[in-house]
Amino acid sequence: MYIGSKEEKSSAYHVQDEASLLRASLDGEIEAWGEIVNRYKEAVFGLCLGFLRNHADAEDINHDTFIRAYENLYRYRVEKRFSTWIFTIASNLCRNRLRYRRHHPIAPLPAQMEGGCNPATTIAQEDRQTQIRQGLSRLPYRYRTPITLRYYNDLSYHQIARILSLPEGTVKTHIYRGKALLRQEIGEMEVINHA
């Protein structure tokens, strides 16, 4: 394939498969890495937001993940799943940031989302989502992380176990307990609302 101007190259990267993009990145084609960032930024950001529960930290860690991943790309085995690798980096950087935050706390995500309503959701749905957001922010970190990976990033228990360096059984237990706590939270809120 003829690769011409920068714009032509960029559009060419959009159609390339992941393995080709990674090989190109390793060969020094930074634009190829830009396409990887484009494809994964939302997934990694969602992971960070779910783990850390504040968008400033999530932004930072999202950014750092892609920089660090590129700097260490030559250590990555192309035949292994890239998503697991990049999510592992993000997960560990999040843990590091959380430890820092214990000594330098900032305000978490607001329970009520600002910026206008989505007309597709009803008021009841919005209330429930608020409850879930509050509940997630209150969940212990060890429950919140696998729940985010499962229900935002749609990963299997096996993949989550690899990313978090936990046994698969523990991942399932943590998800089960986290959901039980959330269910309790929503149940309690329902009792309060109906009181």
């Binding site: 020094g28 930074i30 634009e31 890495w33 830009g34 396409e35 960032v37 484009n38 930024k41 939302e42 950001f45 969602g46 937001l49 779910g50 968008h55 999530a58 932004e59 999202n62 950014h63 892609f66 920089i67 590129y70 030559y74 250590r75 085995r77 995500l109 989302m113 600002e114 910026g115 989505n118 749905q125 429930r128 989502q129 879930i132 957001r133 997630l136 729940i147 985010t148 229900y151 935002y152 959901k179 959330l182 269910r183 929503i186 149940g187």
Partner: protein, 198 residues
């Protein structure tokens, strides 16, 4: 709440959160590319070498081959230099003396000899990280005031102290190093695989 409903709610909530914050991600790839482009030095010989070595790290066989060949090269180089350069020969002989001194102090590989001069003491024990700081009694069979014991220990780093009639002594002259602990001293010795065999 039913399990499926909760799972759907979780998915929707997490998606919604990210959707609301999506604008933060606009242009991230350009930002990352710009930062990396600014950071990257021109690829010189050092980077090429590092990259080659990192690629080699993926193959255990290649790694071992490189280590083996390097070891052989340096072995022959060492022999060649030591045979021909009197100063180096002299240095090696000093090193040999030091090895022998260590050997004279310590016992066989995997054993650590503890020696405490304490004439007139009633009991002398050694306590250390090798056994959760439980006292192990030393003996002075010939009653010359030098108390000894020989402990078989696996390779590792060990902190210890002597307890002479209930009093802790943390600065053993035979120690490799000393550390402060709880306001006192501990001695440190290493037991290695390289060992002290003659």
């Amino acid at each position: 709440m039913h399990e499926d409903k909760l799972e759907k709610l979780l998915r929707d909530t997490l998606q919604q959160e990210v959707s609301k914050e999506r604008h933060y991600l606009d242009g991230l790839e350009k930002e990352i590319v710009a930062e990396l482009t600014g950071q990257l030095p021109k690829r010189g010989w050092l980077q090429t070498l590092t990259r080659l070595f990192a690629q080699m790290q993926r193959s255990r066989r290649r790694q071992l081959a490189v280590i083996g060949i390097t070891a052989v090269i340096f072995l022959f180089l060492g022999i060649f230099v030591s045979e021909r350069v009197p100063l180096v020969r002299g240095l090696f002989s000093v090193y040999d003396k030091q090895q022998k001194a260590t050997i004279a102090t310590n016992s066989d590989e995997g054993q650590l000899l503890f020696v405490m001069p304490a004439p007139g003491a009633q009991t002398v024990a050694v306590v250390g990280s090798f056994n959760n700081w439980k006292p192990i009694l030393l003996t002075d069979e010939d009653k010359d005031g030098i108390w000894l014991t020989n402990l078989p220990l696996p390779p590792g780093r060990y902190e210890y102290a002597f307890v002479v009639d209930g009093r802790w002594w943390g600065q053993d002259p035979l120690a490799d190093e000393y550390v402060r602990s709880f306001g006192g001293y501990n001695s440190v010795r290493y037991v290695g695989y390289t060992g002290d065999k003659i």
